[in-house]
């Protein structure tokens, strides 16, 4: 399984990667929506974990463009956002997001939400 983490904060990208360290998956990263679209096209991830407020291109714009692209629109997206207001949630729900997680978050919550969408497998124990 391949996970694309799109967040301008290196801290969040590290936390996301750390959350899945015991699972058999690979990671790719982007620091804004523009880079995220390019990474999605190049890497064809199984899921995208997407921040909302980012410079250059925000997460809502990236999600809109992703859903307009026939080659990318099937990739499931979880929004990872510090903004949980009703209007914000309704806006991203209309764009076809699969789920959202509000910061602050626990790594176990993120794993639970991702595992509902893709088939996460634990790494085999080292021999």
């Amino acid at each position: 399984m391949k996970i694309l983490s799109v967040d301008d904060s290196r801290t969040i990208r590290i936390i996301v990667k750390r959350a899945f360290q015991n699972y058999d998956c690979t990671f790719c990263e982007a620091t804004n929506g523009e880079e995220g679209l390019a990474a999605a096209a190049k890497e064809n991830p199984d899921i995208i974990i997407l921040d909302v407020t980012m410079p250059v291109m925000d997460g809502v714009t990236m999600l809109t463009k992703l859903k307009e692209d026939p080659a990318l629109k099937a990739i499931p997206v979880i929004m990872l956002t510090a903004e949980s207001g009703r209007e914000n949630v309704l806006q991203i729900a209309k764009l076809g997001v699969r789920d959202y997680l509000v910061k602050p978050f626990k790594e176990t919550e993120l794993i639970e939400k991702v595992s509902r969408i893709i088939n996460l497998q634990k790494k085999a124990p080292a021999a």
């Binding site: 301008d8 904060s9 290196r10 801290t11 969040i12 590290i14 936390i15 750390r18 407020t53 980012m54 410079p55 956002t81 510090a82 903004e83 949980s84 207001g85 009703r86 209007e87 914000n88 910061k103 602050p104 978050f105 626990k106």
Partner: protein, 162 residues
Amino acid sequence: MNQTLDLSGIRNFMKGHLTEVFTTMLSQDAVLTPEQDVPKITDRVSGSVGFGGDDINGAVYLHMSASFASRAASVMLGLPAEEPPGDAEVNDVVGEVSNMLAGGLKSWLCDTGAPCAISTPGIIRGASFQIEPMPGVEQTILVFQCNSDFVVVEVHVKFNNR
């Protein structure tokens, strides 16, 4: 709706929200102190995030000592004790925590009838600086104690059309 769009409502929200952010992301208890004066924090790291909409605009500032910020970064990034974080890593962590504080406030403001947007975070470092509100801007300061350290949240708000 029992939420009030005024400075005391914002203060009440931030009190609970900072505690939640610190507990969840830093495994750190934060207790609001009755202090009204901002404690002197030398060698300070401050995060700032602006917010703005038709009815309200302002900024959230999060102040902490450089040593506390470094420990917070180590916890959030999962760094071993013998590998202290660099300034860029500390800045990113303080910026992200500030973003979480402001994002929560933005959500509260939106749900309370004052939709707004937030900026990406900025960082100020220094030994001696003070942030003064502009005329017409209201200010609330919350001082939290985290073990032997103080963390200060400062919210500057201008209510438009009032």
